[in-house]
Symmetry: C2
């Protein structure tokens, strides 16, 4: 394995540059330590024990997951404090209890009174739960909308009064930070995020209710926030790899993208100045988020070999159509030549794969495969 | 297992209605038999042994695959004549030979002279190959563009003259049929597809070269073609399940969609007339193909419970945002209620899952889970 290079890999393959990954992890960890905030990385991006273990260095090991499959996988990997960040439904409480009985503090989230009542009822059977109340700080996804937070105290009291249930705090995710494109605009969203979740915590405390955890975070707001006071933990996710979308909104620089898809040239079409590669919709995903800011990124841009404005302009299931503004140097890219493609949205692209091939650009330009890491998919 | 109902399933889950599937399979099989054309279904949609076994009933068992992982999986499942329909690269020939040595006639495709030469060279080591030449009948993806077909005879001669290499024929895929919206327009594409691939076959035969296989097909052209003379086999794929895209272009009716995603309601947001469900970008895919014809389909429409114009209007990784033109009946859809969502593009949606839960609407309205079928993902 140690002598394998990326030229030996079957394509398409998912490549992680460890040097960039480590730098991304260190930077976020330091930023949070400097702010006095605990990092609870959202491991839904890499879904990898190895990446998560590196991500929590310097913090206390808490993580966020997006599925029960992730919760089980990371619990097996030794993680003990896990926040399941997608609104819980009563039918999933049994699976939550199963992990909690093994000593995993799997915490759940709700914004709904009947669900809080169902959790209280489930705890009467002897199970314990730890629950955070979700606040909508402006993203318009889940959560009680700030500043009204309708029903906040009712939900909180049901949870707090139920034996076996811990009212663990409040959480929010400022997903609208993904649609800003300047540090100032992101900082404004971060201020909104802080105001909503800290404000909700203050409402609980004013009512005599506990709120030990005040949880916020997205990669853009974690990077550009100017004030995290009152927040106890941040939950950025995609910063571990970054991607074209994060680059274009300014969460990272062009050299901070750790994830790429390795593909082979499978066809030459000079009459339309296109190549085909064996990375299509399943290998890249059909996520076009970064096109919001730069249409030319298509389904991913070519980073290796260095190519000006070469991108996957279209894709079908297993075919990627590579186009360019200038004539493609077909002679330098024979059939079988390998390209590395930067994805629009790392979380979605990575979900097509069951493993990462790890290279290290600081070691030998990223040619040798230095490790293979698995990841968990599905639910 | 036989007493399990869809209410017992964890969500999100992928549901196949066997009654609809069987009807779709029977209709296509009959259509091809009536036309005197062999069916070589493209199994990249379901990627399931069970579905493929049903699909080839009444035909000779030949199939098409889109990845080497599929080739291996279907070879293990007993399939012997497998066309790998994505342009081959020399580095993948060793994997092809591995299956061929086990008695699997895994055929490959190219449109490139250096690749043909590489195949000829590989065969000098004692391996055998069966190769089809790809023709571009107007889709603008892979293949030698018709009518010029530049280099067709050169490629054909290299293959035909190489000991151990079978020049097996020509193939095309009229992918542009997916962007038509009337039976007449699709029939016109089908005529183009036939003309190109039969024309290429005639060029080979006129040059004294063999061309036993003349292979065409997409679901829309297989459904709406009016003349298949000269074509020996058709390779439709998505017809097994159909989806919103196929419905909107007229390849099937509204009652012919066999695949759906089962999701749970996880949040109520009456202030914006939205529900959240636990099926987001990974459970539905970010494929928006059907939006080309009807924007309101979003990332999938709600089919169960019956709801007028209710659709997943947006999604993040694990959250689907369900909106509707009319006020949502929140009281009938409490947290935990289950919805079934019809996907835009079955092939891409199914790729997020490792299994199908099979129901049968002809049996009990589709409530009982009558079987579980696995599928192969990755490469």
């Amino acid at each position: 394995m140690l002598t394998q290079t990326i030229d030996d890999l079957p394509t398409p393959a998912l490549i992680v540059d460890r040097a960039i990954l480590d730098r991304n992890l260190e930077r976020m960890s330091e930023r949070m330590r400097h702010a006095g905030v605990m990092l609870r990385p959202h491991v839904k991006t890499a879904k990898s024990i190895e990446v998560a273990r590196k991500a929590v260095v310097g913090h206390d090991g808490r993580i966020t997951v997006s599925t029960l499959a992730e919760a089980r996988y990371f619990a097996q990997g030794g993680f003990k404090d896990i926040l399941y960040g997608v609104g819980i439904v009563p039918s999933k409480l049994a699976a939550v209890s199963e992990l909690r009985r093994l000593g995993i503090n799997l915490r759940v989230v709700t914004d709904n009174l009947p669900v809080a009542q169902a959790i209280a009822a489930a705890a009467r059977g002897g199970d314990t739960f730890s629950v955070l109340i979700e606040i909508d700080s402006g993203a318009g996804r889940a959560g009680l909308p700030w500043p009204e937070v309708p029903g906040l105290l009712d939900i909180a009291r049901v949870l707090h009064d139920a034996p076996g249930v811990e009212l663990a705090g409040v959480m929010t995710h400022a997903g609208h930070s993904y649609h800003q494109s300047t540090p100032d605009d992101i900082a404004a969203v971060a201020a909104q995020e802080r105001q909503a979740v800290v404000g909700a915590a203050e409402k609980l405390e004013a009512a005599g209710l506990p709120c030990p955890i005040v949880s916020a975070g997205s990669t853009p707001t974690a990077v550009h926030s100017r004030d995290l006071s009152g927040i106890t933990e941040m939950r950025p996710g995609v910063y571990v790899f970054n991607d074209l979308d994060q680059q274009l909104i300014g969460s990272c620089g062009a050299g901070d993208l750790a994830l790429s898809v390795l593909a082979s040239v499978i066809g030459h079409y000079p009459h339309r100045n296109q190549l085909l590669v064996d990375a299509g919709a399943l290998a890249l995903s059909k996520d076009i988020s970064a096109q919001e800011f730069r249409r030319e990124v298509g389904y991913g841009t070519i980073v290796e070999p260095p190519a000006k404005d070469m991108a996957v302009v279209d894709c079908s299931q297993e075919h990627g159509f590579v186009g360019a503004a200038e004539p493609i140097p077909f002679g330098n890219l024979p059939i079988g030549a390998r390209l590395r493609i930067l994805p629009n949205h790392a979380c979605i692209t990575a979900a097509g794969y069951d493993r990462y091939y790890v290279v290290d650009s600081a070691l030998d330009g990223g040619r040798s495969v230095v490790d293979v890491w698995d990841r968990i998919n599905g639910w």
